[in-house]
């Protein structure tokens, strides 16, 4: 990217990245198509500020998890623990916040919640990474194990019932706006943009692709493969932890029972977004589209009056189609 680059070639370059790097141009077309379809069918209900706001809110927490998962999957791994890590981090953050006392300012609450949530999540990520990379246990199993452990421990800490968090956290942050945009959406967007830049423009990003593409090759050219892979699980855990704190802000309590399927939703989003389950290729940009497609479908079905039971049917079909297309692309590349 040179200083002289004008917006148009830069936009074109982004599209090229999207198409070449992941074969995911299609998903943007699908997303745009759905958006236009529902807008045309219900012009007074679908494309309204109110509805878009609710769309953005429901996508933002999942988007954070999906961004982290994208890094893990590009690096050739998988993280099934994210939903439980979110719950655990949320519980720990709620405990910390509620321990602050009623007079604590919102700023202090947000600071403590963010640090505790991120820290708790990243710690689970470190456990996942260490066991999978140094312990040589398949990450599918490791993260399935910590999926159960994080959820169980969260329930142990709270005695099984949800903890309520201060109301001002929800009114100001969870449902609050900054510059007319919901805070949560803004945070998810910033995280996605930062992580996309990390992926495409930094050494860390390049090594993420490299360890997913050919681990042994990375090792032989001197890439610190183990350290890189462990950091990927920590990113996934850390973003799940941040998601845990933001979910507190959104729902006003720890919603312990509500995240059992998050891992599947998130992995589906990443794969729908064009990231290959076999590693080495993918992008955050695609993942965001992969998060939005199910959300738009769900929302659109409600507004149009299609029974929402059709949403998982449609998503399942999209998911299978995405993997089919990835397989075709991989075969073509050989």
């Amino acid at each position: 990217m040179t200083e002289a680059a004008t917006p148009l070639p830069r936009a074109r370059a982004l599209v090229t990245i999207a198409r070449e790097r992941s074969g995911q141009g299609l998903i943007f077309v699908v997303l745009l198509g759905l958006f236009l379809l529902f807008s045309v069918m219900r012009p007074s209900q679908f494309p309204t500020a109110f509805n878009l706001r609710s769309l953005g809110l429901s996508a933002s927490v999942i988007a954070l998890l999906a961004v982290g998962q994208t890094f893990v999957i590009i690096g050739g791994g998988i993280d099934l623990s994210v939903g439980s890590v979110l719950v655990f981090s949320g519980v720990v953050a709620a405990k910390a916040i509620n321990g602050l006392g009623a007079a604590t300012s919102l700023g202090a609450i947000v600071l403590v919640g963010t640090v505790v949530g991120l820290g708790a999540g990243a710690s689970w990520g470190a456990v996942n990474g260490f066991l999978a990379v140094r312990g040589g246990i398949p990450d599918f199993i490791v993260t399935l194990g910590t999926f159960g452990m994080a959820y169980g421990l969260a329930a142990v800490i709270t005695g099984g019932s949800d903890i309520t968090t201060p109301l001002k956290l929800t009114t100001k942050l969870g449902n609050g706006n900054a510059f007319g945009v919901p805070w949560l959406l803004l945070i998810a967007l910033v995280a996605a943009i930062v992580m996309q830049v990390v992926l495409t423009a930094t050494r860390f990003g390049r090594y993420t692709y490299a360890v997913g593409s050919n681990r042994e090759a990375g090792r032989r050219v001197g890439v610190k493969v183990d350290r890189q892979r462990i950091s990927l699980y920590m990113i996934s855990g850390g973003l799940a932890g941040l998601g845990g704190f933001l979910a507190l802000a959104l729902y006003n309590n720890t919603t312990i029972g509500a995240h059992g399927n998050d891992n599947l939703v998130v992995i589906a989003a990443v794969v729908i977004g064009g990231t290959s389950l076999f590693g080495g290729t993918g992008s955050v940009l695609g993942t965001i589209a992969g998060v939005l497609v199910p959300v738009v479908l769900q929302n659109g079905f409600v507004i149009v009056g299609v029974p929402t039971f059709w949403q998982p049917v449609a998503i399942g079909a999209v998911l299978i189609a995405a993997v089919y297309i990835d397989g075709r692309r991989r075969t073509a590349a050989r």
Binding site: A201, R203, R206, A210, A217, T281
Partner: protein
């Protein structure tokens, strides 16, 4: 084997031992490569060729023995160490990341940072690497197609991929190129191309080359010297112009010792 003036010796492995569990793979092997020399390393399967190669490349470390670069003992424990001493390896499997483009592979592990603060933050200068990559490939005569630098490695043919791996080693190599079975997966024409390139860079860039190979005719054609590994030791050291393929085969299989036999006392019963 004649003694070699240290100043002329680029790299030496002296009395290297290496076991994996209870299997003694290397049992006191020694090897030296002189400046601008092309040395062939041949031997049967299990003779220890790949293990010696991995030790010189820093992929494995030896149990005992010494590696000297320019006469000085050095520690080569990681690929980074080997790179720092100017040793580059083209692995048989090429060690390329198929999803990354050619420039990314050429610079993998040694990315050019952006200037200033961005560079400190880990940002890399893709444009500079692409340009440098095109130049390198051009200089090497390996620019097999236009815009090669931005082509994904998985989209290239086997021969083209090998050219990329060779280019990477030549670009970074300062002292020694190690080629592991460079002709195993190639057609006749591609094999000749690789070997011609190796000869040319040896002269142009003042490099030494160590070629591990099964391909005895190619070894004799291109090498100055051929070292035979047998049962974890250097069994013989031949002038490539003065040895026949029959002689090589005989030494490799242990049927008879050739003229260059280092150690006629390499006895089966001692193993």
């Amino acid at each position: 084997m004649e003694t070699v003036a240290a100043v002329d010796t680029v790299i030496e492995a002296v009395d290297i031992y290496k076991s994996f569990g209870r299997v003694d793979v290397l049992r006191g092997v020694s090897l030296s490569v002189r400046r601008r020399e092309i040395v062939g390393l041949v031997g049967d399967n299990g003779a220890g060729k790949s293990t010696l190669l991995k030790i010189l490349s820093g992929v494995e470390s030896c149990d005992s023995g010494e590696i000297r670069v320019g006469g000085q003992p050095v520690n080569i424990r990681t690929p980074d160490d080997a790179h720092a001493h100017g040793v580059e390896t083209v692995y048989q499997d090429l060690a390329l990341a198929p999803h990354l483009d050619v420039a990314a592979n050429l610079f993998l592990g040694r990315e050019t940072p952006r200037s200033g603060v961005l560079g400190k933050l880990g940002f890399i200068d893709k444009k500079a690497m692409q340009i440098a990559c095109e130049e390198d490939l051009h200089l090497l005569g390996l620019r097999v197609r236009k815009n090669l630098a931005t082509a994904r490695v998985e989209s290239l043919s086997g021969g083209q991929q090998q050219a990329v791996a060779v280019a990477r080693a030549i670009t970074w190599g300062r002292r020694l190129l190690i080629l592991d079975e460079p002709t195993a997966a190639l057609g006749v024409r591609e094999t000749k191309q690789v070997l011609d390139t190796v000869r040319r860079v040896r002269d142009e860039r003042d490099l030494s080359v160590l070629i591990v190979t099964h391909d005895l005719p190619s070894a004799l054609r291109i090498c100055d010297r051929v070292v035979v590994l047998r049962l974890g030791r250097d069994a013989a050291d031949f002038d490539a112009r003065a040895v026949s393929i029959d002689q090589l085969v005989g030494t490799i299989t242990g049927v008879y010792g050739g003229a260059g036999e280092r150690d006629a006392g390499l006895r089966e019963d001692e193993l």
